[in-house]
Amino acid sequence: MTNQMASVDEPSTSRSGAGDPLTDLGFGDAEVRDLLDGLPDAPTLRTALQKLTADQLDLLASFIDGFRSRREFLLWCQDAAIHTLGRLSGDWIVERAFSRLDLSVLLVNDRRFDWADSAEDVLPPEKAATARRGVAAVDLLPSFTRSHRGFRWSTVEYGTNDGRDGGDVPDADKQSNPAMRPALAELDQRQGWVLRRVLDGFASEDQLFAWVQQVTEATYAEVDDDLATRLYTESHTREMLLDREGERSKSWFFRESFAAREIVAAFPAAAREVADRSGELAEHENKELDVKSL
């Protein structure tokens, strides 16, 4: 078991390539695009909601596609914390990350067998894909709705003088910030950084302390205040987080579990706080001018 697990410890963010039989079970991009192409042309005056929807669609798609590793799933959870404005709860993340059955459904390569007691417990890929869609229906989409409900009236409504060509309404496709909140973009970057750092381990205790400070910032202090205390006084935890000999493979499982329970679980609350209180920025027309040749 340990050996099997050791083989899983590679940061795996690459998507499945062509010819992968599992690809067919993934998110049906083309049909969805067909549907959305039929959206009415009228400008949506609350662009931030459109932007939120678009990002949540990406989130949904990668969830249905499944993950290559538990690490990749945790990175997705960090994304989900931001793009659901914290409505996908920390508890949900912890439950998934610690459930063997769930992980055997969420992972789509041979690693899914690593998470089951026996191979018979692992669902065939088609059933697993159905199960992921079930989770999406039960947990993800409701969290999207909750995020919109909490957010809707704090978005800016953009007026236009003539209403003919969208005038001053910003284009959702041109917005780079989650929900058009630069503060969320910043939070996203900080959270991504602290998560990757802990998954990779630290070279010294002092690095660890400095990292804890960054965690505090990245979670808007939603992390437990005794984090540093526990890290330092529990010698086992400390050793697992330190990567003295560069032997990451020994403690990857512990670090992922630690990150899930202590760090990622605090991300949604932080995202929610920030989304509720941050200002909106409409990014305009930084695009290249479209020059028509006559």
Binding site: D162, R164, D165, E285, L289, D290, V291, K292, S293, L294
Partner: protein, 379 residues
């Protein structure tokens, strides 16, 4: 198009095999020019805002065009070297061309004695000259290695040369749909005063006489075209429009100011009579505001900052750009805009055949007064 085999403008071979010249429908001058210079057919489908570029270029008498039925206009501003003349040449081609359902137009290029950018189109051009004058054409080489200045027969350079008696004769007997006409104004103003006296637009103190600045002739041309027709689709392209309707026009002995007013009145009527006017200049400030206020389309070419506030432009209530887009554009690009929208565009180079300038010198056949006749020695 390469002009490799052409060393001097007299080497040009007129294109006499086009349908436009032969009077048949296939292979028009516009198609021939487009092929020669690699200009693609005008495609209204590529534009985000059809009321801007297609709105100015394409016309129809019904509501099938992208702007109100009838003639259109544009005031084009660009510094020296921005490719202004080339843009006007490109515009000519699209105006002459017939893209169903839009008509093919007669293009009138303002000729002036000292400028000859139009020689790119010499093999297709119809040069219209006043019959009141003796014409002397010279080729002036601007090449440093081989400077020269020699007489040339205009017929050896262009496809057609015609002589008009007065503006009315020019409009009624010489302008043809689908052709590129280079019109040189008549310094004698033949027929202008007569046209004016028959016009309902008469004003106090306005008179056309042979002593007027030659550019006043264009007012006479507008009178003839707008009031007497024929009402075929016609576009007038004028570079350095500040020469024709200068902002500095005053109520001088030539009634320059009154003529600007008359020009303005005729400009307003142009639309109804299928007559479009494209005015270009280095500075829009040079053109008289009475006319500028009436322009519906404006172009700002590379190297000049487009306005961002209505207060910066005479006669404009709203400017759709909120930032300067044109200052840093490379040569051959510009922005066409209306009060509601703008669209950026580029145009290809349309090279001149040689480094020569074609200078056309007009001298009155009948001396203005006997005293002048003696001093100038004109027979």
């Amino acid at each position: 198009m390469t002009w490799k085999s052409v060393e001097t403008l007299a080497d040009l071979r007129p294109r006499t095999n086009t349908g436009t010249f032969l009077g048949t429908s296939r292979h028009t001058d516009a198609q021939s020019i487009r092929r020669a210079f690699g200009i693609s057919e005008f495609d209204v489908g590529i534009f985000d805002y059809p009321s801007v570029i297609p709105g100015s270029f394409m016309k129809a008498t019904d509501n099938s065009a992208y702007s109100a039925a009838g003639g259109t206009d544009a005031l084009i501003e660009g510094p020296m070297g921005a490719g202004k003349s080339t843009f006007l040449k490109l515009l000519s081609v699209h105006l002459m061309d017939s893209v169903e359902p839009y008509p093919s137009e007669a293009v009138v290029w303002r000729g002036s004695e000292s400028r000859s950018e139009w020689t790119s189109f010499a093999p297709w051009a119809k040069v219209c000259l006043p019959s009141s004058c003796n014409v002397e054409a010279r080729l002036v080489s601007t090449s440093e290695d081989d400077p020269y200045r020699r007489k040339v027969a205009l017929e050896d350079v262009v496809r057609e040369v015609v002589y008009y008696d007065d503006p009315m004769d020019l409009c009624q007997n010489h302008l043809e749909s689908g052709k590129f006409h280079v019109v040189y104004p008549d310094p004698q103003m033949t027929g202008c005063q007569d046209l004016y006296e028959r016009s309902p637009k008469r004003k106090d103190g306005l008179e056309f006489s042979p002593n007027d600045p030659v550019n006043h002739w264009w007012v006479g041309f507008l009178l003839a075209r707008v009031e007497h027709g024929p009402y075929i689709w016609t576009s007038l392209l004028m570079d350095e429009v500040g020469d024709i309707i200068p902002q500095s026009a005053s109520k001088d002995k030539y009634a320059s100011y009154q003529k600007v007013e008359l020009y303005r009145d005729l400009f307003i009527d142009s639309r109804k009579y299928k007559f479009s006017q494209y005015h270009a200049g280095q500075n829009a400030e040079d053109a008289h505001e009475k006319v500028k206020r009436k322009h519906r389309w404006r172009a700002t070419l590379n190297g000049r900052a487009n306005p961002t506030r209505a207060s910066q432009v005479v006669g404009v209530n709203r400017v759709p750009m909120n930032t300067d887009l044109t200052s840093d554009m490379p040569t051959g690009r510009g922005l066409l805009w209306t009060e509601t929208n703008f669209e950026a565009f580029s145009w290809p180079n349309i090279p001149k055949p040689t480094e020569e300038e074609l200078r056309i010198h007009l001298t009155p056949k009948v001396p203005r007064d006997p005293a002048e006749a003696k001093s100038e020695g004109v027979a």
